[in-house]
Protein backbone atom coordinates (compact mmCIF):
# COMPACT_ATOMS: atom_id res chain seq x y z
CA UNK A 1 0.00 0.00 0.00
CA UNK A 2 1.53 3.31 -0.98
CA UNK A 3 -0.07 6.68 -0.39
CA UNK A 4 -3.84 6.57 -0.22
CA UNK A 5 -4.36 10.31 -0.36
CA UNK A 6 -6.24 10.31 2.93
CA UNK A 7 -5.96 13.54 4.84
CA UNK A 8 -5.53 12.87 8.54
CA UNK A 9 -5.29 14.83 11.75
CA UNK A 10 -3.28 13.09 14.40
CA UNK A 11 -2.17 13.72 17.95
CA UNK A 12 0.79 12.22 19.75
CA UNK A 13 0.83 11.20 23.42
CA UNK A 14 3.78 10.41 25.63
CA UNK A 15 2.27 7.67 27.73
CA UNK A 16 -0.15 4.81 27.29
CA UNK A 17 -2.27 5.91 30.25
CA UNK A 18 -2.86 9.27 28.56
CA UNK A 19 -3.69 7.41 25.37
CA UNK A 20 -6.26 5.18 27.06
CA UNK A 21 -7.89 8.15 28.77
CA UNK A 22 -7.96 10.04 25.46
CA UNK A 23 -9.59 7.16 23.60
CA UNK A 24 -12.26 6.97 26.31
CA UNK A 25 -12.82 10.70 25.95
CA UNK A 26 -13.08 10.42 22.16
CA UNK A 27 -15.70 7.71 22.59
CA UNK A 28 -17.77 9.89 24.91
CA UNK A 29 -17.53 12.80 22.46
CA UNK A 30 -18.52 10.45 19.61
CA UNK A 31 -15.42 11.28 17.59
CA UNK A 32 -14.71 8.60 15.03
CA UNK A 33 -11.11 7.40 15.49
CA UNK A 34 -9.45 6.21 12.29
CA UNK A 35 -6.59 4.35 13.90
CA UNK A 36 -4.50 4.18 17.05
CA UNK A 37 -0.81 3.40 16.70
CA UNK A 38 1.62 2.52 19.43
CA UNK A 39 5.19 1.25 19.92
CA UNK A 40 3.94 -1.82 21.80
CA UNK A 41 0.57 -3.51 22.36
CA UNK A 42 -1.44 -1.37 24.82
CA UNK A 43 -3.66 -3.58 26.92
CA UNK A 44 -7.22 -2.45 27.41
CA UNK A 45 -7.26 -0.57 24.12
CA UNK A 46 -9.13 -3.14 22.01
CA UNK A 47 -12.52 -2.95 23.78
CA UNK A 48 -12.36 0.87 23.79
CA UNK A 49 -11.83 0.87 20.04
CA UNK A 50 -14.55 -1.71 19.60
CA UNK A 51 -12.14 -4.21 18.06
CA UNK A 52 -13.61 -7.67 18.11
CA UNK A 53 -11.38 -10.54 19.22
CA UNK A 54 -9.06 -11.86 16.53
CA UNK A 55 -10.31 -15.02 14.84
CA UNK A 56 -6.84 -16.19 13.84
CA UNK A 57 -7.20 -19.21 16.11
CA UNK A 58 -10.24 -20.36 14.11
CA UNK A 59 -8.16 -20.23 10.93
CA UNK A 60 -5.38 -22.01 12.82
CA UNK A 61 -7.72 -24.84 13.75
CA UNK A 62 -8.68 -25.49 10.15
CA UNK A 63 -5.08 -25.28 8.93
CA UNK A 64 -4.14 -27.74 11.64
CA UNK A 65 -6.97 -30.07 10.68
CA UNK A 66 -5.76 -29.97 7.09
CA UNK A 67 -2.31 -31.01 8.28
CA UNK A 68 -3.72 -33.86 10.35
CA UNK A 69 -5.69 -35.19 7.42
CA UNK A 70 -2.89 -34.75 4.88
CA UNK A 71 -0.40 -36.62 7.07
CA UNK A 72 -2.70 -39.41 8.21
CA UNK A 73 -4.40 -40.05 4.90
CA UNK A 74 -1.15 -39.91 2.94
CA UNK A 75 0.57 -42.42 5.20
CA UNK A 76 -2.50 -44.65 5.13
CA UNK A 77 -2.59 -44.53 1.35
CA UNK A 78 1.14 -44.97 0.71
CA UNK A 79 1.91 -47.75 3.21
CA UNK A 80 -1.52 -49.32 3.38
CA UNK A 81 -2.56 -49.37 -0.26
CA UNK A 82 -0.05 -48.05 -2.78
CA UNK A 83 3.01 -50.16 -1.91
CA UNK A 84 2.55 -52.51 0.98
CA UNK A 85 5.68 -53.49 2.90
CA UNK A 86 5.87 -55.40 6.16
CA UNK A 87 8.19 -53.49 8.50
CA UNK A 88 9.28 -55.47 11.55
CA UNK A 89 6.15 -57.62 11.51
CA UNK A 90 3.88 -54.61 11.88
CA UNK A 91 0.55 -54.51 10.06
CA UNK A 92 0.21 -52.62 6.77
CA UNK A 93 -1.70 -49.94 8.59
CA UNK A 94 0.34 -49.27 11.77
CA UNK A 95 -1.71 -46.43 13.25
CA UNK A 96 0.44 -45.82 16.39
CA UNK A 97 3.49 -45.30 14.16
CA UNK A 98 1.62 -42.53 12.37
CA UNK A 99 1.06 -40.46 15.50
CA UNK A 100 4.37 -38.53 15.58
CA UNK A 101 4.33 -37.42 11.95
CA UNK A 102 0.60 -36.63 12.10
CA UNK A 103 1.26 -34.41 15.09
CA UNK A 104 4.24 -32.68 13.50
CA UNK A 105 2.37 -31.90 10.28
CA UNK A 106 -0.63 -30.62 12.24
CA UNK A 107 1.60 -28.13 13.99
CA UNK A 108 3.43 -27.25 10.78
CA UNK A 109 0.29 -26.58 8.76
CA UNK A 110 -1.37 -24.63 11.59
CA UNK A 111 1.69 -22.43 12.17
CA UNK A 112 2.54 -21.71 8.56
CA UNK A 113 -1.12 -21.17 7.69
CA UNK A 114 -1.70 -18.76 10.55
CA UNK A 115 1.45 -16.75 9.91
CA UNK A 116 0.59 -16.39 6.22
CA UNK A 117 -2.99 -15.44 7.15
CA UNK A 118 -1.73 -12.90 9.66
CA UNK A 119 0.47 -11.07 7.16
CA UNK A 120 -2.17 -11.24 4.45
CA UNK A 121 -5.05 -9.81 6.46
CA UNK A 122 -2.83 -7.13 7.97
CA UNK A 123 -1.58 -6.19 4.51
CA UNK A 124 2.02 -6.73 5.59
CA UNK A 125 4.78 -8.51 3.73
CA UNK A 126 8.32 -8.28 2.41
CA UNK A 127 8.78 -4.96 0.67
CA UNK A 128 5.37 -3.55 1.63
CA UNK A 129 5.62 0.19 2.27
CA UNK A 130 2.84 1.52 4.43
CA UNK A 131 2.70 5.28 5.04
CA UNK A 132 4.53 6.21 8.22
CA UNK A 133 2.57 8.84 10.13
CA UNK A 134 5.39 9.67 12.50
CA UNK A 135 8.75 7.99 12.92
CA UNK A 136 8.55 8.17 16.68
CA UNK A 137 5.53 5.86 16.83
CA UNK A 138 7.84 2.87 16.78
CA UNK A 139 9.91 4.53 19.48
CA UNK A 140 8.04 6.28 22.28
CA UNK A 141 4.95 8.08 20.94
CA UNK A 142 1.35 6.92 21.04
CA UNK A 143 -0.80 8.20 18.21
CA UNK A 144 -4.52 8.76 17.64
CA UNK A 145 -5.42 9.52 14.02
CA UNK A 146 -8.67 10.96 12.66
CA UNK A 147 -9.80 11.10 9.05
CA UNK A 148 -9.75 14.86 8.38
CA UNK A 149 -12.51 14.75 5.78
CA UNK A 150 -14.98 13.10 8.15
CA UNK A 151 -14.41 15.10 11.31
CA UNK A 152 -15.01 18.51 12.69
CA UNK A 153 -11.52 20.03 12.90
CA UNK A 154 -12.33 22.32 15.77
CA UNK A 155 -13.78 19.49 17.86
CA UNK A 156 -10.75 17.33 17.17
CA UNK A 157 -8.30 20.09 18.05
CA UNK A 158 -10.17 20.80 21.27
CA UNK A 159 -10.19 17.10 22.03
CA UNK A 160 -6.41 16.84 21.57
CA UNK A 161 -5.62 19.87 23.69
CA UNK A 162 -7.96 18.77 26.48
CA UNK A 163 -6.58 15.20 26.62
CA UNK A 164 -2.94 16.22 26.83
CA UNK A 165 -1.64 15.42 23.36
CA UNK A 166 1.92 16.74 23.12
CA UNK A 167 1.72 17.38 19.39
CA UNK A 168 -1.11 17.76 16.87
CA UNK A 169 -0.44 17.66 13.13
CA UNK A 170 -2.20 17.29 9.83
CA UNK A 171 -0.85 15.12 7.05
CA UNK A 172 -1.82 13.42 3.80
CA UNK A 173 -0.91 9.77 3.78
Amino acid sequence: MSNTGTNIIYGLYDDETDLLAAVKEANSQHLEIMDVLSPFPVHGLDPLLGLSESRLHVAGFFFGLTGTLVAFLFMTWSLGFDWQVIYGGKPYWPVPSFIPITFELTVLFASVGMVVTFYTICGLGPGVENPIIDKRITDNKFCIAFDASHTNHEAVNNFFSSTGATEVNQKTI
Binding site: P39, P41, V42, Y87, N130, N140
Partner: protein, 472 residues
Protein backbone atom coordinates in the same frame (compact mmCIF):
# COMPACT_ATOMS: atom_id res chain seq x y z
CA UNK B 1 1.25 -2.71 31.56
CA UNK B 2 0.42 -0.48 34.46
CA UNK B 3 -0.70 -3.53 36.44
CA UNK B 4 0.58 -3.68 39.99
CA UNK B 5 3.26 -6.32 40.53
CA UNK B 6 3.96 -8.08 43.76
CA UNK B 7 6.30 -5.91 45.82
CA UNK B 8 8.58 -8.89 46.41
CA UNK B 9 9.42 -9.07 42.71
CA UNK B 10 12.73 -7.48 41.87
CA UNK B 11 12.87 -5.09 38.92
CA UNK B 12 13.68 -6.62 35.52
CA UNK B 13 14.69 -3.34 33.91
CA UNK B 14 17.15 -1.18 35.83
CA UNK B 15 18.60 2.27 35.23
CA UNK B 16 15.27 4.16 35.33
CA UNK B 17 14.67 3.76 31.62
CA UNK B 18 12.16 5.67 29.52
CA UNK B 19 10.67 4.24 26.34
CA UNK B 20 13.04 6.33 24.23
CA UNK B 21 16.07 5.13 26.18
CA UNK B 22 15.04 1.51 25.70
CA UNK B 23 14.89 2.08 21.94
CA UNK B 24 18.23 3.85 21.97
CA UNK B 25 20.05 1.27 24.12
CA UNK B 26 18.88 -1.75 22.17
CA UNK B 27 19.12 -0.29 18.67
CA UNK B 28 22.57 1.24 19.15
CA UNK B 29 24.59 -1.96 18.67
CA UNK B 30 23.06 -2.43 15.20
CA UNK B 31 23.99 1.11 14.16
CA UNK B 32 27.51 1.80 15.34
CA UNK B 33 30.75 0.48 13.82
CA UNK B 34 31.49 -2.96 15.25
CA UNK B 35 33.67 -2.96 18.33
CA UNK B 36 37.14 -4.49 18.31
CA UNK B 37 35.92 -7.38 20.45
CA UNK B 38 33.23 -8.20 17.90
CA UNK B 39 35.71 -8.12 15.01
CA UNK B 40 38.11 -10.47 16.82
CA UNK B 41 35.27 -12.83 17.75
CA UNK B 42 33.90 -12.78 14.23
CA UNK B 43 37.31 -13.47 12.69
CA UNK B 44 37.74 -16.43 15.03
CA UNK B 45 34.25 -17.77 14.29
CA UNK B 46 34.76 -17.49 10.55
CA UNK B 47 38.09 -19.32 10.86
CA UNK B 48 36.31 -22.21 12.57
CA UNK B 49 33.59 -22.04 9.94
CA UNK B 50 36.28 -22.45 7.28
CA UNK B 51 37.59 -25.52 9.15
CA UNK B 52 34.04 -26.86 9.16
CA UNK B 53 33.56 -26.35 5.44
CA UNK B 54 36.88 -28.00 4.75
CA UNK B 55 36.03 -31.03 6.91
CA UNK B 56 32.61 -31.39 5.30
CA UNK B 57 34.24 -31.23 1.89
CA UNK B 58 36.88 -33.76 2.93
CA UNK B 59 34.26 -36.14 4.34
CA UNK B 60 32.12 -35.96 1.25
CA UNK B 61 35.15 -36.29 -1.03
CA UNK B 62 36.84 -39.18 0.80
CA UNK B 63 33.73 -40.79 2.25
CA UNK B 64 32.82 -41.75 5.79
CA UNK B 65 36.02 -43.81 5.91
CA UNK B 66 37.74 -40.58 6.88
CA UNK B 67 36.06 -41.02 10.26
CA UNK B 68 36.98 -43.66 12.80
CA UNK B 69 33.59 -45.33 12.95
CA UNK B 70 33.82 -49.09 12.67
CA UNK B 71 31.65 -52.19 12.45
CA UNK B 72 30.89 -52.10 16.16
CA UNK B 73 30.60 -48.40 16.69
CA UNK B 74 28.51 -46.97 13.88
CA UNK B 75 27.48 -43.75 15.61
CA UNK B 76 30.17 -41.61 17.18
CA UNK B 77 30.87 -37.91 17.37
CA UNK B 78 28.52 -37.12 14.50
CA UNK B 79 25.29 -38.23 16.15
CA UNK B 80 26.58 -37.03 19.52
CA UNK B 81 26.95 -33.58 17.98
CA UNK B 82 23.52 -33.83 16.41
CA UNK B 83 21.76 -34.61 19.68
CA UNK B 84 23.83 -32.03 21.53
CA UNK B 85 22.92 -29.23 19.13
CA UNK B 86 19.27 -30.23 19.02
CA UNK B 87 19.19 -30.17 22.82
CA UNK B 88 20.70 -26.69 22.87
CA UNK B 89 18.09 -25.65 20.35
CA UNK B 90 15.32 -26.36 22.81
CA UNK B 91 15.87 -23.57 25.30
CA UNK B 92 14.83 -20.83 22.91
CA UNK B 93 11.38 -22.23 22.42
CA UNK B 94 11.13 -23.05 26.08
CA UNK B 95 11.91 -19.46 27.03
CA UNK B 96 9.72 -17.87 24.40
CA UNK B 97 6.78 -20.26 24.35
CA UNK B 98 6.44 -22.00 27.71
CA UNK B 99 7.40 -18.92 29.70
CA UNK B 100 4.95 -16.87 27.63
CA UNK B 101 2.16 -19.26 28.55
CA UNK B 102 3.24 -19.06 32.20
CA UNK B 103 3.33 -15.24 31.98
CA UNK B 104 6.92 -15.05 33.19
CA UNK B 105 7.99 -11.46 32.60
CA UNK B 106 11.72 -12.17 32.80
CA UNK B 107 11.33 -13.92 29.47
CA UNK B 108 11.28 -10.58 27.62
CA UNK B 109 14.94 -9.79 28.30
CA UNK B 110 16.32 -12.99 26.83
CA UNK B 111 13.72 -14.46 24.48
CA UNK B 112 14.94 -12.84 21.28
CA UNK B 113 18.52 -14.04 21.62
CA UNK B 114 17.40 -17.44 22.88
CA UNK B 115 15.15 -17.95 19.87
CA UNK B 116 17.94 -16.90 17.52
CA UNK B 117 20.19 -19.37 19.31
CA UNK B 118 17.56 -22.07 18.78
CA UNK B 119 17.46 -21.48 15.07
CA UNK B 120 21.24 -21.47 14.69
CA UNK B 121 21.61 -24.56 16.89
CA UNK B 122 19.03 -26.45 14.83
CA UNK B 123 20.87 -25.43 11.66
CA UNK B 124 24.06 -26.93 13.15
CA UNK B 125 22.19 -30.04 14.32
CA UNK B 126 20.62 -30.70 10.95
CA UNK B 127 24.01 -30.88 9.25
CA UNK B 128 25.24 -33.97 11.08
CA UNK B 129 22.69 -36.57 9.96
CA UNK B 130 23.09 -35.23 6.44
CA UNK B 131 26.88 -35.49 6.44
CA UNK B 132 26.61 -38.88 8.12
CA UNK B 133 24.65 -40.15 5.14
CA UNK B 134 27.89 -40.14 3.21
CA UNK B 135 26.27 -39.45 -0.12
CA UNK B 136 24.84 -36.09 0.86
CA UNK B 137 23.58 -35.43 -2.67
CA UNK B 138 21.00 -38.18 -2.13
CA UNK B 139 19.67 -36.58 1.06
CA UNK B 140 16.34 -35.88 -0.58
CA UNK B 141 15.64 -39.64 -0.42
CA UNK B 142 14.40 -39.09 3.14
CA UNK B 143 11.33 -37.23 1.91
CA UNK B 144 8.30 -39.12 0.61
CA UNK B 145 8.24 -37.93 -2.97
CA UNK B 146 6.88 -39.79 -6.01
CA UNK B 147 9.95 -41.62 -7.26
CA UNK B 148 10.87 -44.01 -10.07
CA UNK B 149 11.56 -46.85 -7.65
CA UNK B 150 7.95 -47.96 -7.50
CA UNK B 151 7.18 -45.44 -6.05
CA UNK B 152 8.59 -47.04 -2.94
CA UNK B 153 7.67 -44.85 0.00
CA UNK B 154 9.80 -44.04 3.02
CA UNK B 155 9.32 -46.09 6.18
CA UNK B 156 6.83 -44.17 8.28
CA UNK B 157 7.43 -46.63 11.14
CA UNK B 158 10.96 -45.42 11.66
CA UNK B 159 11.83 -42.91 14.40
CA UNK B 160 14.64 -41.70 12.16
CA UNK B 161 12.02 -40.58 9.66
CA UNK B 162 9.89 -39.08 12.43
CA UNK B 163 12.99 -37.09 13.27
CA UNK B 164 13.15 -35.68 9.76
CA UNK B 165 9.63 -34.34 10.14
CA UNK B 166 10.13 -33.23 13.72
CA UNK B 167 13.35 -31.29 13.12
CA UNK B 168 12.14 -29.63 9.93
CA UNK B 169 8.82 -28.66 11.53
CA UNK B 170 10.63 -27.38 14.58
CA UNK B 171 12.99 -25.30 12.49
CA UNK B 172 10.17 -23.80 10.41
CA UNK B 173 7.94 -22.97 13.37
CA UNK B 174 10.80 -21.49 15.39
CA UNK B 175 11.82 -19.35 12.44
CA UNK B 176 8.28 -18.03 11.90
CA UNK B 177 7.79 -17.39 15.61
CA UNK B 178 11.10 -15.58 15.89
CA UNK B 179 10.64 -13.47 12.78
CA UNK B 180 7.09 -12.44 13.61
CA UNK B 181 8.33 -11.25 16.97
CA UNK B 182 11.15 -9.41 15.25
CA UNK B 183 9.03 -7.48 12.73
CA UNK B 184 7.92 -4.61 15.05
CA UNK B 185 11.49 -4.19 16.31
CA UNK B 186 12.88 -4.11 12.78
CA UNK B 187 10.35 -1.34 12.13
CA UNK B 188 11.85 0.54 15.07
CA UNK B 189 15.31 0.21 13.52
CA UNK B 190 13.87 1.24 10.14
CA UNK B 191 12.42 4.44 11.54
CA UNK B 192 15.80 5.44 12.96
CA UNK B 193 17.80 4.51 9.86
CA UNK B 194 18.81 6.47 6.78
CA UNK B 195 19.73 5.64 3.20
CA UNK B 196 20.35 2.05 2.21
CA UNK B 197 19.81 0.74 5.74
CA UNK B 198 16.39 2.36 5.78
CA UNK B 199 15.52 0.59 2.54
CA UNK B 200 16.76 -2.81 3.73
CA UNK B 201 15.04 -2.58 7.12
CA UNK B 202 11.96 -1.33 5.29
CA UNK B 203 11.84 -4.55 3.30
CA UNK B 204 12.61 -6.67 6.37
CA UNK B 205 10.00 -5.01 8.58
CA UNK B 206 7.15 -5.84 6.19
CA UNK B 207 5.59 -2.35 6.34
CA UNK B 208 4.81 -2.54 10.06
CA UNK B 209 3.06 0.58 11.42
CA UNK B 210 1.99 -0.31 14.95
CA UNK B 211 -1.72 -0.11 14.28
CA UNK B 212 -3.93 -1.28 17.16
CA UNK B 213 -5.58 -4.02 15.12
CA UNK B 214 -2.20 -5.33 13.97
CA UNK B 215 -0.95 -5.43 17.53
CA UNK B 216 -4.04 -7.32 18.59
CA UNK B 217 -3.55 -9.95 15.89
CA UNK B 218 0.18 -10.06 16.57
CA UNK B 219 -0.42 -10.85 20.23
CA UNK B 220 -3.04 -13.42 19.33
CA UNK B 221 -0.67 -15.05 16.84
CA UNK B 222 2.21 -15.10 19.32
CA UNK B 223 0.05 -16.76 21.93
CA UNK B 224 -1.23 -19.48 19.60
CA UNK B 225 2.22 -20.13 18.17
CA UNK B 226 3.48 -20.44 21.74
CA UNK B 227 0.68 -22.88 22.47
CA UNK B 228 1.67 -24.94 19.44
CA UNK B 229 5.41 -24.67 20.02
CA UNK B 230 5.18 -25.97 23.57
CA UNK B 231 4.01 -29.51 22.72
CA UNK B 232 6.16 -29.29 19.59
CA UNK B 233 9.40 -28.76 21.49
CA UNK B 234 8.55 -31.64 23.82
CA UNK B 235 7.66 -33.87 20.88
CA UNK B 236 10.88 -33.10 19.03
CA UNK B 237 13.16 -34.25 21.78
CA UNK B 238 10.87 -37.15 22.59
CA UNK B 239 11.30 -38.29 19.01
CA UNK B 240 15.07 -37.80 19.26
CA UNK B 241 14.97 -40.06 22.30
CA UNK B 242 12.95 -42.61 20.28
CA UNK B 243 15.87 -42.79 17.83
CA UNK B 244 17.64 -44.70 20.57
CA UNK B 245 14.85 -46.07 22.71
CA UNK B 246 13.22 -48.10 19.94
CA UNK B 247 16.50 -49.82 19.02
CA UNK B 248 17.66 -53.20 20.35
CA UNK B 249 20.76 -51.85 22.09
CA UNK B 250 20.39 -52.23 25.89
CA UNK B 251 22.32 -49.08 26.80
CA UNK B 252 20.31 -46.97 24.40
CA UNK B 253 17.18 -47.76 26.36
CA UNK B 254 18.38 -45.20 28.81
CA UNK B 255 16.40 -42.74 26.69
CA UNK B 256 13.19 -44.76 26.94
CA UNK B 257 11.81 -42.23 29.39
CA UNK B 258 11.56 -39.15 27.16
CA UNK B 259 10.94 -36.59 29.95
CA UNK B 260 14.46 -37.31 31.17
CA UNK B 261 15.83 -36.59 27.71
CA UNK B 262 13.72 -33.44 27.42
CA UNK B 263 14.94 -32.22 30.82
CA UNK B 264 18.49 -32.76 29.58
CA UNK B 265 17.74 -30.70 26.49
CA UNK B 266 16.35 -27.83 28.53
CA UNK B 267 19.33 -28.08 30.85
CA UNK B 268 21.90 -27.78 28.07
CA UNK B 269 19.89 -25.15 26.23
CA UNK B 270 19.72 -22.86 29.23
CA UNK B 271 23.43 -23.32 29.77
CA UNK B 272 24.11 -22.17 26.21
CA UNK B 273 21.75 -19.20 26.69
CA UNK B 274 23.73 -18.25 29.80
CA UNK B 275 27.03 -18.54 27.93
CA UNK B 276 25.78 -16.27 25.16
CA UNK B 277 23.84 -13.78 27.26
CA UNK B 278 26.62 -13.21 29.76
CA UNK B 279 28.95 -12.25 26.92
CA UNK B 280 26.27 -10.30 25.03
CA UNK B 281 25.12 -8.20 28.00
CA UNK B 282 28.70 -7.21 28.66
CA UNK B 283 29.87 -6.55 25.11
CA UNK B 284 26.68 -4.75 24.01
CA UNK B 285 26.24 -3.07 27.39
CA UNK B 286 22.75 -4.43 28.01
CA UNK B 287 23.11 -5.06 31.73
CA UNK B 288 20.00 -3.00 32.43
CA UNK B 289 17.88 -5.40 30.39
CA UNK B 290 19.55 -8.72 31.07
CA UNK B 291 19.88 -8.30 34.81
CA UNK B 292 21.09 -10.53 37.60
CA UNK B 293 17.42 -11.32 38.07
CA UNK B 294 17.32 -12.95 34.63
CA UNK B 295 20.54 -14.85 35.26
CA UNK B 296 19.27 -16.07 38.61
CA UNK B 297 15.98 -17.26 37.10
CA UNK B 298 17.82 -19.22 34.44
CA UNK B 299 20.15 -20.70 37.04
CA UNK B 300 17.13 -21.96 38.93
CA UNK B 301 15.97 -23.76 35.78
CA UNK B 302 19.47 -25.20 35.35
CA UNK B 303 19.46 -26.44 38.94
CA UNK B 304 16.05 -28.05 38.55
CA UNK B 305 16.65 -29.73 35.20
CA UNK B 306 20.21 -30.76 36.15
CA UNK B 307 18.85 -32.47 39.22
CA UNK B 308 16.12 -34.20 37.21
CA UNK B 309 18.80 -35.52 34.87
CA UNK B 310 20.90 -36.59 37.85
CA UNK B 311 17.99 -38.44 39.44
CA UNK B 312 17.50 -40.26 36.14
CA UNK B 313 21.19 -41.32 36.07
CA UNK B 314 20.99 -42.64 39.60
CA UNK B 315 17.66 -44.37 38.98
CA UNK B 316 19.21 -46.21 36.04
CA UNK B 317 22.07 -47.42 38.17
CA UNK B 318 19.77 -48.45 40.98
CA UNK B 319 17.31 -50.29 38.75
CA UNK B 320 20.05 -52.16 36.92
CA UNK B 321 21.45 -53.32 40.26
CA UNK B 322 18.01 -54.07 41.70
CA UNK B 323 16.91 -56.02 38.63
CA UNK B 324 19.68 -58.58 39.26
CA UNK B 325 19.71 -59.04 35.49
CA UNK B 326 23.39 -59.47 34.52
CA UNK B 327 23.17 -58.01 31.02
CA UNK B 328 21.38 -54.91 32.20
CA UNK B 329 23.83 -54.59 35.06
CA UNK B 330 26.77 -54.93 32.71
CA UNK B 331 25.49 -52.21 30.37
CA UNK B 332 25.37 -49.68 33.18
CA UNK B 333 28.33 -50.71 35.28
CA UNK B 334 30.43 -50.80 32.13
CA UNK B 335 29.53 -47.17 31.57
CA UNK B 336 30.75 -46.13 34.97
CA UNK B 337 33.80 -48.38 35.26
CA UNK B 338 34.57 -49.58 31.70
CA UNK B 339 37.17 -48.19 29.31
CA UNK B 340 35.19 -44.99 28.87
CA UNK B 341 34.86 -44.37 32.60
CA UNK B 342 36.22 -40.85 32.19
CA UNK B 343 33.35 -39.78 29.94
CA UNK B 344 30.90 -41.07 32.52
CA UNK B 345 32.81 -39.24 35.23
CA UNK B 346 32.72 -36.00 33.20
CA UNK B 347 29.00 -36.42 32.63
CA UNK B 348 28.19 -37.06 36.30
CA UNK B 349 30.36 -34.28 37.67
CA UNK B 350 29.29 -31.64 35.13
CA UNK B 351 25.59 -32.45 35.01
CA UNK B 352 24.66 -33.73 38.44
CA UNK B 353 27.22 -32.44 40.90
CA UNK B 354 28.28 -29.03 39.62
CA UNK B 355 24.79 -27.45 39.28
CA UNK B 356 24.17 -28.16 42.97
CA UNK B 357 26.23 -25.06 43.64
CA UNK B 358 23.14 -23.09 42.58
CA UNK B 359 21.30 -23.92 45.78
CA UNK B 360 23.16 -20.86 47.06
CA UNK B 361 21.58 -17.57 46.09
CA UNK B 362 24.96 -15.90 46.14
CA UNK B 363 26.26 -18.33 43.51
CA UNK B 364 23.16 -17.99 41.36
CA UNK B 365 23.76 -14.26 41.19
CA UNK B 366 27.48 -14.49 40.55
CA UNK B 367 28.15 -13.83 36.87
CA UNK B 368 31.61 -15.44 36.77
CA UNK B 369 30.44 -18.60 38.51
CA UNK B 370 27.42 -18.78 36.19
CA UNK B 371 29.58 -18.43 33.12
CA UNK B 372 32.00 -21.17 34.19
CA UNK B 373 29.07 -23.38 35.18
CA UNK B 374 27.39 -22.87 31.82
CA UNK B 375 30.53 -24.13 30.07
CA UNK B 376 30.63 -27.12 32.44
CA UNK B 377 27.05 -27.99 31.61
CA UNK B 378 27.69 -27.69 27.88
CA UNK B 379 30.61 -30.09 28.20
CA UNK B 380 28.71 -32.43 30.50
CA UNK B 381 25.74 -32.69 28.18
CA UNK B 382 27.99 -33.43 25.23
CA UNK B 383 29.52 -36.28 27.23
CA UNK B 384 26.09 -37.54 28.22
CA UNK B 385 25.20 -38.13 24.57
CA UNK B 386 28.61 -39.66 23.92
CA UNK B 387 28.17 -41.99 26.89
CA UNK B 388 24.77 -43.13 25.68
CA UNK B 389 25.73 -43.53 22.03
CA UNK B 390 29.33 -44.62 21.73
CA UNK B 391 30.28 -46.29 24.99
CA UNK B 392 27.22 -48.51 24.75
CA UNK B 393 28.19 -49.63 21.25
CA UNK B 394 31.79 -50.21 22.26
CA UNK B 395 30.72 -53.14 24.44
CA UNK B 396 27.94 -54.82 22.51
CA UNK B 397 26.63 -58.41 22.52
CA UNK B 398 29.67 -60.28 21.26
CA UNK B 399 32.90 -59.77 23.18
CA UNK B 400 34.73 -60.74 19.99
CA UNK B 401 33.44 -57.58 18.30
CA UNK B 402 34.17 -55.26 21.20
CA UNK B 403 36.02 -52.26 20.00
CA UNK B 404 37.18 -48.78 20.88
CA UNK B 405 36.51 -45.55 19.11
CA UNK B 406 38.58 -42.40 18.93
CA UNK B 407 37.70 -39.59 16.53
CA UNK B 408 39.93 -38.61 13.63
CA UNK B 409 40.93 -35.00 13.06
CA UNK B 410 38.07 -34.75 10.56
CA UNK B 411 35.47 -35.54 13.21
CA UNK B 412 37.06 -33.16 15.71
CA UNK B 413 37.19 -30.54 12.95
CA UNK B 414 33.52 -31.03 12.19
CA UNK B 415 32.55 -30.52 15.80
CA UNK B 416 34.73 -27.47 16.41
CA UNK B 417 33.75 -26.18 12.99
CA UNK B 418 30.06 -26.43 13.81
CA UNK B 419 30.76 -24.15 16.77
CA UNK B 420 32.24 -21.76 14.22
CA UNK B 421 29.08 -21.94 12.13
CA UNK B 422 26.95 -21.28 15.20
CA UNK B 423 28.94 -18.33 16.43
CA UNK B 424 29.27 -16.79 12.96
CA UNK B 425 25.49 -16.78 12.65
CA UNK B 426 25.02 -15.45 16.17
CA UNK B 427 27.56 -12.67 15.71
CA UNK B 428 25.89 -11.57 12.47
CA UNK B 429 22.56 -11.61 14.29
CA UNK B 430 23.72 -9.29 17.08
CA UNK B 431 24.89 -6.82 14.45
CA UNK B 432 21.77 -6.67 12.31
CA UNK B 433 18.81 -7.21 14.65
CA UNK B 434 17.85 -5.93 18.10
CA UNK B 435 19.12 -8.57 20.53
CA UNK B 436 16.43 -7.79 23.09
CA UNK B 437 12.74 -7.68 22.16
CA UNK B 438 12.22 -3.89 22.27
CA UNK B 439 8.42 -3.82 22.14
CA UNK B 440 8.08 -6.56 24.75
CA UNK B 441 10.50 -4.89 27.13
CA UNK B 442 8.59 -1.62 26.76
CA UNK B 443 5.36 -3.41 27.58
CA UNK B 444 6.69 -4.60 30.96
CA UNK B 445 8.39 -1.32 31.86
CA UNK B 446 5.49 -0.02 33.94
CA UNK B 447 5.32 -3.22 35.98
CA UNK B 448 8.98 -4.24 36.14
CA UNK B 449 11.05 -1.06 35.62
CA UNK B 450 13.00 -0.18 38.74
CA UNK B 451 11.50 3.31 39.13
CA UNK B 452 8.04 1.73 39.20
CA UNK B 453 8.80 -1.28 41.41
CA UNK B 454 10.34 1.06 43.96
CA UNK B 455 7.10 2.98 43.97
CA UNK B 456 5.07 -0.17 44.63
CA UNK B 457 7.46 -1.15 47.34
CA UNK B 458 7.17 2.23 49.00
CA UNK B 459 3.40 2.07 48.72
CA UNK B 460 3.22 -1.37 50.31
CA UNK B 461 5.68 -0.43 52.99
CA UNK B 462 3.66 2.63 53.97
CA UNK B 463 0.43 0.67 53.94
CA UNK B 464 1.93 -1.96 56.20
CA UNK B 465 3.27 0.71 58.52
CA UNK B 466 -0.15 2.37 58.64
CA UNK B 467 -1.83 -0.98 59.42
CA UNK B 468 0.62 -1.68 62.22
CA UNK B 469 0.03 1.78 63.63
CA UNK B 470 -3.73 1.31 63.61
CA UNK B 471 -3.40 -2.12 65.24
CA UNK B 472 -1.41 -0.59 68.05
Amino acid sequence: MGAISSPIRNPLITGRKTYAQITEDICRPTERTPSFAWVVAFALAVTFLAVYLFCVFYTVWKGIGSWNLNRTIGWGWDITNFVWWVGIGHAGTLISAILLLFRQKWRTGVNRAAEAMTIFAVICAGQFPLIHMGRIWLAFFIFPYPNTRGPLWVNFNSPLLWDVFAISTYFTVSLLFWYTGLVPDLATVRDRAKGIRKKLYGIASFGWTGSAKHWQRWESLSLILAGLATPLVLSVHTIVSFDFATSVIPGWHTTIFPPYFVAGAIFSGFAMVQTLMIITRKVLNLKDYITLEHIESMNKVILLTGTIVGVAYLTELFISWYSQYPYEQFAFFNRATGPYWYTYFAMMSCNLLSPQIFWSRKMRRNVTVTFIMSIFVNIGMWYERFVIIATTLARDYLPSSWSMYYPTWVEVGLFLGSLGLFFTLFLIFVRVAPVVAIAEVKSILKSSGDQYTEKFEKYHHEKQFANEASDA
